[in-house]
């Protein structure tokens, strides 16, 4: 029985603009995003018991070392150094992992994309979600340490999910730009690694912002990460709400990063399959 199908599912001459098309496809493949994030998380769990613990242990160990080294030096500005540094470190850890692994994910997914049609952005988004889940789990030991050190938690901490969401958007935007370039030039991801190292020192995560002389503070202000970590410090460490202009600034940075990253990725996306 011959079917009479006249609904065009794909017409290469009548595609919507890639910027929009990728979004439409991403939404259509939303179950893939969930499955792929699940896969990333499960693989980490199933590999070994230590695998899960290690991703929690690593920032804790770094925090412990930094506490031993710096808490005396910064004792005037920061009372509870462990909480202060850990809050920022967890965000930084998420950002580094999410953006650097995105390249590997994209290159690995290229094998798939060469044979079947898949919106590659789904892997990038799933990657961000998988590491955000890690961040969420890591908040448990953070709360534990807060309890042990007698650090009070106040209501503003409920803004944490919002801040995490903003950082996730920023990570996705930056990750998309870096990985799109890195797919074509593998050495670019190495350059990005170097940039990340310097970037950490330009962000008041390990040190309080007060120790930076006034005339050099602008270096920190132009760093978007400074503002995100400010939101976190306010909510978790100081127990206060950040002023509205900081929220607005972070919102704008996240939105801009996401738009630019998305635009960059979608205009290059068609060329991925042409890479031999």
């Amino acid at each position: 029985m011959v079917q009479t199908l006249n609904t065009v599912v794909y017409d290469s001459a009548r595609r919507p603009h890639p910027f929009l098309e990728e979004w439409i496809e991403l939404v259509r493949y939303r179950d893939l995003v969930v499955q792929w994030a699940n896969r990333s998380i499960k693989i980490r769990y199933k590999r070994s018991i230590l695998g899960v613990l290690w991703t929690l242990l690593e920032p804790l160990i770094i925090m412990a070392i930094l506490t031993v080294v710096f808490s005396y030096a910064f004792r005037v500005a920061i009372q509870n150094y462990p909480i202060y540094v850990l809050t920022g470190l967890l965000m930084w850890d998420f950002f580094v992992r999410a953006t650097t692994t995105m390249v590997k994910e994209m290159i690995a997914s290229e094998n798939l994309a060469h044979r079947i049609y898949v919106p590659i952005s789904a892997f990038a988004v799933a990657n961000v979600f998988a590491y955000a889940f890690n961040w969420l789990i890591a908040l448990v030991p953070l709360m534990g340490i807060a309890l042990v050190t007698g650090h009070p938690m106040h209501l503003p901490i409920i803004t944490l999910p919002v801040t995490m969401g903003l950082v996730m958007m920023f990570a996705l935007g930056v990750g998309l730009i870096v990985s799109t370039i890195s797919v074509f030039f593998h050495d670019f991801s190495l350059m990005y690694d170097v940039l990340l190292r310097a970037w950490l020192y330009l962000t008041p995560i390990i040190y309080p912002i007060d120790i930076v002389p006034e005339h050099l503070r602008f270096l920190l202000w132009i760093n978007p990460m400074t503002h995100y970590v400010r939101l976190l410090h306010d909510a978790v460490y100081f127990g206060r709400y950040s002023p509205l202009h900081v929220w607005a600034l972070c919102g704008m940075i996240s939105g801009l990063a996401l738009l630019i990253g998305w635009w960059w990725f979608t205009r290059t996306r068609d060329a991925f399959a042409y890479r031999c």
Binding site: M1, V2, Q3, T4, L5, N6, T7, V8, V9, Y10, D11, S12, A13, R28, Y29, D31, L32, V34, Q35, W36, N38, R39, K42, I43, K46, R47, L112, A113, H114, R115, I116, Y117, V118, I181, F185, H186, D187, F188, M191, D270, A273, Y274, C276
Partner: protein
């Protein structure tokens, strides 16, 4: 009285429906790869070369002037030597590659049987891999859940479905992958030599399912080197040579011409 177009009039007389639009249409499709004359691997090198204007490209036309209409319900075979462009043609239909020139139109849900077990991870269970692979192919989670039992039934893997796929034999893997890939009857099925793997039993199951799909109206596009397979199942055969359509027509005619050409080449070299 209104003028009735003659075509419709005739078909109405014959008691049939009006001609359906082709399932897959290719109009003047060309695919060009742009390769730098000297491979550039690093970012620094690229910027330097670009600034100096030293980047020269070579054009490699994988496909040229491909115009083809595949009717709904047709069983089409694509043959040609390795590197002729058969896989590229499938990629263009499957939406993996955008054509450099020309137009591709696909009418209907397309399922590619090109890479069985895409996304399969050894540490995940069969069940988890079914959902992973299914969503990669573009199906929704609830759709897959509804067909899950049928998928496992067809693969005959009920005792193993909740074990990590690492424990499966290659045959079991292929059965599961094939079962997921063919869980939903598509309107158009693309098959690329994937039947070269697996044992005789598996291949028989594959052909049975494809036959069932075809009987229900699925358009099947098969790329194969097995001429007997092509001869047995295909209604029309396309011969691709150096990225162009060399011949289209009856299976016997085209296959004969193709084998003649291949043997001639071998004698010469």
């Amino acid at each position: 009285m209104d003028h009735i177009p003659s075509e419709q009039f005739v078909t109405a007389l014959a008691g049939g429906t009006a001609a359906a639009a082709p399932a897959v249409e290719l109009r003047g499709v060309a695919v060009r790869y742009r390769l730098p004359s000297q491979p550039v691997h690093s970012f620094k090198e690229y910027i330097i070369r670009r600034l100096k204007g030293q980047i020269r490209y070579q054009d490699l036309w994988a496909l040229q002037d491909i115009t083809l209409s595949i009717q709904p319900g047709e069983f089409l075979g694509i043959i040609g030597r390795n590197g002729a462009g058969k896989s590229t043609l499938l990629k263009v239909i499957a939406r993996v590659l955008r054509p450099t020139r020309g137009r591709v139109i696909v009418r209907g849900r397309l399922a590619p049987l090109l890479e069985l077990g895409a996304g399969f991870h050894m540490d995940l269970t069969g069940r988890e891999n079914v959902f992973l692979n299914g969503t990669l192919l573009g199906y929704r989670r609830d759709e897959i859940a509804a067909r899950f039992d049928a998928i496992v039934d067809f693969a005959e893997l009920w005792e193993f479905i909740d074990m990590p796929v690492r424990a499966y034999s290659f045959g079991m893997l292929m059965r599961l992958a094939f079962s997921v890939a063919t869980a939903f009857r598509p309107d158009i099925l693309l098959v690329d030599e994937v039947l070269a793997v697996g044992d005789v039993q598996f291949r028989k199951k594959c052909m049975q399912r494809m036959g069932a799909f075809h009987a229900s109206g699925t358009t099947i596009i098969l790329v194969s080197h097995h001429m007997d397979l092509v001869r047995q199942f295909c209604e029309r055969v396309v011969w691709i040579d150096h990225g162009r359509i060399r011949m289209v027509g009856e299976p016997d005619t085209v296959i004969r011409a193709y084998t003649h050409y291949v043997m001639g080449h071998e004698r010469r070299s």
